[in-house]
Amino acid sequence: MPCVNADGTLVSSAKKILEAARTPGTPAELAERSRFPLYRVHSALRELADAGMALEVDGRYQATEVGLDRLGR
């Protein structure tokens, strides 16, 4: 899983994107907040959502409790 290192920690890009999702946002908003290209945000959000670390509601993504735990709150 490209968002997660072998030791279970999040790779830095995933961490920044998840940080940006502490407040709900569309992928475009999260791209602006995290300063990553939109395609990378789409790709990372898919993985983070599959892993239960982010949740999508009506096109907006937010870090879940699991995600916040991984960020160390």
């Binding site: 939109l38 789409h42 898919r46």
Partner: protein, 210 residues
């Protein structure tokens, strides 16, 4: 092996692929322009010069809201090793993702394999896809010929100018040159065209500055 090609002005075929930046889908690039390009193989000389050249025009592409996405029939490990080698040897960081198309899925979908050249490698193909996911231009180069980056920038400038202003661009056009006013479609429009203040050779060939 399928040798079908995608068609201009039709939706570019959707895909999901493993890249050096993770798993991406074509639809992830929606809302920006995309240059999807293939190269024959990692660690080969012409391809290396092309990757350095693509990295050099990347800032210009970003100004035009264009992303780059490379592809070859190599593994992601090979791509990573090659990118690291380019950075180490040439001090050039490759800022865009590269598809590891080992099963040739995307290459087949886009007609990137020219069996007359090679049955196992992709030719030097360039697909320019607009923010709505429509395939707007295709350029194919043979394996022995490295691509011209200025031409790729020129094609993007031409398409963006044509879209923004509803015009066409003439041969050898470059940004800042006069553009072509679309030809009249009726006798009435043809008669009126000459009095509209354009620079006209005749009713069907008129230019204007933007």
């Amino acid at each position: 092996m399928s040798t079908s090609l995608p068609r201009l002005n039709e939706p570019a075929p959707e895909f999901e692929a493993v890249t050096t930046h993770g798993v991406v889908r074509l639809s992830d690039f929606r809302d920006s322009w995309l240059v999807l390009f293939s190269h024959p193989a990692d660690f080969t000389p012409v391809c290396t010069t092309e990757f350095v050249a693509f990295a050099e025009i990347y800032p210009e592409l970003q100004k035009r809201k264009v992303e780059l996405l490379g592809l070859s029939i190599d593994s992601v490990y090979s791509h990573i090793a090659w990118m690291r080698n380019i950075e180490e040897r040439m001090k050039v960081q490759i800022p865009f993702p590269i598809i590891a198309d080992l099963n040739k899925e995307v290459a087949t979908l886009y007609g990137m394999i020219m069996p007359g050249e090679s049955k196992t490698e992709t030719s030097r193909c360039v697909f320019i896809i607009d923010p709505k996911g429509i395939l707007r231009a295709m350029i194919y180069y043979p394996m022995a010929l490295g691509r011209n980056m200025q031409e790729i920038l020129r094609v993007i400038d031409g398409l963006q100018t044509a879209d923004e202003h509803g015009v066409a661009v003439p041969a050898n056009w470059k940004k800042g040159d006069k553009v072509i006013v679309p030809a009249p479609k009726t006798m009435e429009m043809a008669a009126e065209r000459l009095g509209q203040g354009y620079e006209c050779v005749d009713w069907y060939l008129c230019k204007k500055s933007l």
